[in-house]
Amino acid sequence: MIALPQKLPRWLAPALFVAALGAAFWRAPNPAPPAFVPPPAAAASPLPALFAAQMLPQAAESAHAATLAQLADGRLAAAWFAGSREGAADVAIWFSTLSRDGWSRPQPIANRESTAGGVFAHVRKVGNPVLYVEGSWLHLWYVSVGIGGWAGSSINHSVSTDGGQSWTKPAKLQTSPFANISTLVRTPPVPLADGGLGLPVYHEFIAKHGEWLRLSPTGQILDKTRMAHPVSTLQPAVVALDAQRALALLRDAGPGPGRVQVATTANGGERWTAGEPLPIPNPNSSVALLRLKSGRLLLAGNPPDGREALLLWISADDGETWQASRSIEAAADSGAEFSYPALLLGRDGRIHIAYTWRRQGIKVASFSEAWLDGGQP
């Protein structure tokens, strides 16, 4: 043990400790119990039956994991990752917006070099992005990996205040004590009553399960909660049902043939409880969940055998029961993959879905509730 200089009085170390402890108590967050922003009252959608689909301009050979947002000026925005193949060093997060002239030429908004330059750490690859609009702020969360595979991911956060033209340097969300590994993001956050956000994330190292990050209005992590399940789960998609209750539907990561897994909270996301899985198959693929203008819930996912079709289900009772609705796209050939859906409710009541199209590109379809109910455009 090293010896301190003799002139240091014995009371100095404890005095410094007490002062630092007091400062730490002062700094420690002590937020009010969490609550969701209650969803708006249900109303009938006046839109007629409509359906239109369009491929986004190709950014690179391989594309995956799209996310959607509606900017403050009303434009739709999409982001996804694309490169020579998933996990390659040349993969970037690409961004495009929809105007009267169609979808804009995709622009790279994050890659391994820009991420490494922002967080000052080695980055091997980037992956899943999530966009979310909060007033004039456009948030971007995306995963990056320093070492190993996707299980070694951490989450980066960047913000644009000019509709995606320029972005702040990314900052890492500190979510794990072990080299900050194994927290990934795939689905959009849920607004909280205190001005913060609840961000659904998931963990892949050793065990696979959903997690819930409570973020303060300034983006600080206030809490982290596990969504424990008896089976492996990933990628929770969450909707708030009222100020206290929310429903999370999760990808079933096996083993064996899966079903869409369920977690619920009755205290604003403070604790999550595993529910009975839905009688809806899930072939270990990402799902998307959205509360519609009518108050019904819309689920997008794949059929039991694989990702060769993208299907929709509707619930009119807060997720208790589900009915099969329409099919967005299906094909029987070996290259068919229509997966990783992202749902968005436009301010005009239109529903937008973006999804991976054969790993070659991203497709966006827009439709109305009347189309969901069987109406023909």
């Binding site: 410094l16 402890l21 730490a24 000052f120 080695h122 070492i147 900052a171």
Partner: protein
């Protein structure tokens, strides 16, 4: 670059220099440590360490600074290293997904953890472990600065635990060798 990224890369530069200072370099030790710190920062070693090990704890940084300042022997002797290992291994196992409880989450609203540090500090003071008490005080001051979101991250990190494992393992190996030489 945000404050945490700046801290992370600078701290890893110093930590790399401290590891070099452990080598038996005689009179060249101080210069080699300074050169290693510079090389780590300029040649990309510190960003790689930051990418692999994450943001270093303030405890590890302080131990590295003590090493660079030639304040030997290090406070991280066999018993503290053994205690750290005994705590950190189940902690990491639980935090990385074994079971439903995530102890790392306690560090985001750490009032209970801070309260638990009071008896720890009292024991350190009673047993005249003033260096460790000062290290703990600097850890808490670092947390109070707002640069760390989670209290656990100022206290220990995987690289510190790896160092503790090396210290504990080294003694075990030396004892094994000694027993075979008898």
């Amino acid at each position: 670059m945000n404050a945490q990224a700046a801290y992370g890369i600078l701290a890893h530069g110093l930590i790399f220099g401290a590891f070099v200072a452990l080598l038996p370099l005689g009179e060249l030790r101080a210069r080699a440590a300074l050169a290693a710190t510079t090389v780590a920062l300029l040649a990309g070693i510190a960003p790689v360490m930051h990418g692999i090990f994450g943001t270093p704890s303030l405890t590890l940084l302080q131990l590295a600074i003590l090493q660079l300042a030639n304040k030997t022997p290090s406070p991280l002797g066999h018993r503290p290293a053994l205690g750290l290992l005994a705590f950190a291994i189940p902690f990491y196992a639980a935090a990385l997904g074994t079971g439903a409880f995530d102890p790392y989450a306690l560090g985001y609203q750490p009032a209970a953890l801070l309260a638990a540090l009071m008896p720890v500090a009292a024991v350190l003071w009673w047993r005249r472990r003033d260096v460790w008490l000062l290290i703990l005080a600097v850890d808490l001051a670092g947390y109070a600065s707002g640069a760390f979101a989670n209290l656990w991250d100022v206290l220990f990190d995987p690289l510190l635990v790896l160092l503790a494992a090396v210290i504990v393992g080294r003694r075990g190996v030396l004892r094994l060798i000694a027993s075979r030489l008898r």
